[in-house]
Amino acid sequence: MQDALKLYDRSYESRILLGTARYESPLQLKEAIEASDPALLTVALRKQMQGGSHAGQAFWDIVRSTGRPLLPNTAGCGTVREAVNTACMAREVFQTDLIKLEVIGDEVNLQPDPFGLVEATVDLIRRGFRVLPYCTEDLVLCRRLLDAGCEVLMPWAAPIGTGQGPRNPRALRELRERIPNIPLIVDAGLGLPSHACQVMEWGFDGVLVNTAVSRAIHPVQMAKAFAGAVQMGRLAYLAGPMPVQDLAVPSTPDIGIPFWVEADRFASQETR
């Protein structure tokens, strides 16, 4: 597999992860999966599991029938204990050690609780989980998560479900530069394929989308649009974008312009 996305010990051809919540029907979800060809499907255990591990089986059967590996999450958990319990239950139900860890610190914008997140990560890794933590773009938090043993990080672009796109582009790009060798997947807050394309161009390894697809007027079309954007963004990143210049640089040699004009131009750049 050329240019695979490596998450822990597995490689994936696709660089998009798709959430399974809030589609109009299981069939529509299935079609969105087929249209976007995601590496992993995230599944929220919590609400479906009220009646023990067999409740909601029909829905999971439909999701499983798409043949994609599942990535359970701890959506909606507000405490370390809740998140750890949910993760343990998810491991049993979905038969996977992977867990997308969410510990929510604020009910209004569903922002990660950095302290609880690190604590839960330590606990879960001790229990043999492979944790994909949903975090902010804070560099020190990310380092702590790596210290705890995470091999993937999932920084947000903006609060969950807002569709705002990267709120803090500088910090995200800086994070990419400071943590160059760990897969970083942008999770939460993307609204448009152009947002996804942009973060892929910056060198992020993948994106996770749910609401941006499921709450589009035509989710299946939007799933396809995101998949294309992620691929193109990745291609652009690999192609090595040109450096940004402050002033126009002609693409053809401008014969006839005296060299002292060129010299002026460089001088003006230096004084900026």
């Binding site: 109009e24 029907s25 069939l27 479906q48 009646g51 029909a58």
Partner: protein
């Protein structure tokens, strides 16, 4: 007695309605239901009884919206033909949202315009909203009014349909479960068992809905009220006798055990946010049931010529919204099936969506 034309197995909303309209169309009908004539075990017992094609458009395909519109035309006339009164109100729906969720309202409008060419709605400002629904006061800065949408008292309707059937001399076998292996004596058997037909229709799944019934005699609601929210779906409907129905959660599970604390909290806190006066209401019931749904969340009709068995199912959250349109459709295909039972289902004349499934299934 002559052999009946059709035996309907399952006397919930769909079974009763189909039996009644079939008798009125001149067919000989028998009905079997595992529970009694009150209908309190039916999925439709735990329901808002809403016929709200526009409000549902946000989660339903254009054809379902159109079917809902057809049902809205059929209900009033049908209800008038019933021997006992059933509360019906078509005062419309008011959609409200918290200031921070204004994006949900914009999305709703876009979806509605895309899916319903006949969409009719009005923007209301705080003052107009308070004028239309005084109970809301000026709590919400704006709202949308969807005129003409209706709700039916589900708990009056189910026994009223039983009354109608018995008055017409239909043989109704209440408290009589029909096993999959049994075949009632009739030219055609119609399976309307909803979630209980899962043994036969394996794609059926349950979608859990939880409701709260409140007694709030001081709260007067002139319209159905829906809260637009990115995570919760909430509606409030008044019922005769000072009651208010608050619904409904929607959870992917076959589990029909009692309402969870989380479900109750979600419903009650959202209801309280819309109408703080409900704080003093009394909780009469916390109800839960699983709605039968097919993978596409559309209703489905299928026919097995060998067994002479017609199955109608998958009304999902849309029992009251869709059942008249579905019943009307089934009645148009019945004469052909009774004339030549060996043939498959022909294309559904009015709703290609039902027909598409019928065609596929006929080929099996």
């Amino acid at each position: 007695m002559m052999k009946p034309d059709i035996a309907i197995v399952g006397g919930g909303l769909l079974g009763r309605l189909l039996a009644w309209r079939a008798v009125l169309s001149g067919l000989r009908v028998v009905l079997f239901d595992a529970n009694d004539r009150l209908g309190n075990e039916a999925t439709a017992w735990v329901a808002g009884g809403m016929v709200t094609p526009q409000a549902e458009a946000v989660d339903a395909e254009p054809e379902l919206v159109a079917m809902g519109r057809r049902s809205l035309q059929l209900w009033p006339g049908w209800l008038r033909q019933l021997p006992s009164p059933v509360h019906y109100s078509d005062s419309g729906t008011l959609l409200v949202w918290q200031r921070t969720d204004a994006a949900e309202a914009r999305r709703f409008e876009t979806v509605l315009r895309t899916r319903d060419p006949h969409a009719r709605y009005e923007h209301l400002n705080a003052e107009q909203l308070a004028g239309k629904e005084p109970a809301l006061g000026t709590r919400f800065r704006e709202g949308l009014y969807l005129p003409g949408e209706a709700h039916i008292d589900n708990r009056q309707l189910l026994p009223a349909l039983a009354d109608a059937l018995e008055a017409l001399g239909v043989e109704c076998h209440w408290n009589r479960r029909v096993e999959d292996s049994e075949r009632p004596e009739a030219s055609l058997v119609i399976d309307c068992r909803g979630k209980n037909a899962k043994s036969r229709w394996k794609e059926l799944r349950g979608v859990r809905g939880e409701l709260v019934r409140l007694h709030a005699p001081d709260v007067e609601l002139r319209h159905m009220i829906r809260l637009l929210h990115p995570r919760y779906q909430l509606y409030l409907i008044s019922r005769p006798g000072g009651n208010v129905v608050v619904g409904a959660t929607s959870i992917e599970t076959d589990d029909c055990s009692p309402v969870s604390v989380r479900g109750a909290l979600e419903l009650l806190s959202a209801a309280y946010a819309v109408l703080p006066e409900l704080a003093e209401a009394r909780i009469l019931e916390l109800d839960c049931d699983c709605r039968p749904a097919l993978p596409d969340n559309r209703p489905g009709v299928r026919y097995s010529p060998n067994a002479r068995l017609l199955e109608v199912n998958g009304l999902y959250r849309h029992g009251f919204l869709l059942s008249p349109a579905v019943v009307e459709e089934v009645l148009t295909i019945l004469p052909e099936l009774l004339r030549s039972p060996a043939s498959g289902l022909s294309e559904s004349p009015r709703w290609p969506l039902l027909g598409a499934r019928a065609e596929v299934l006929a080929c099996r």
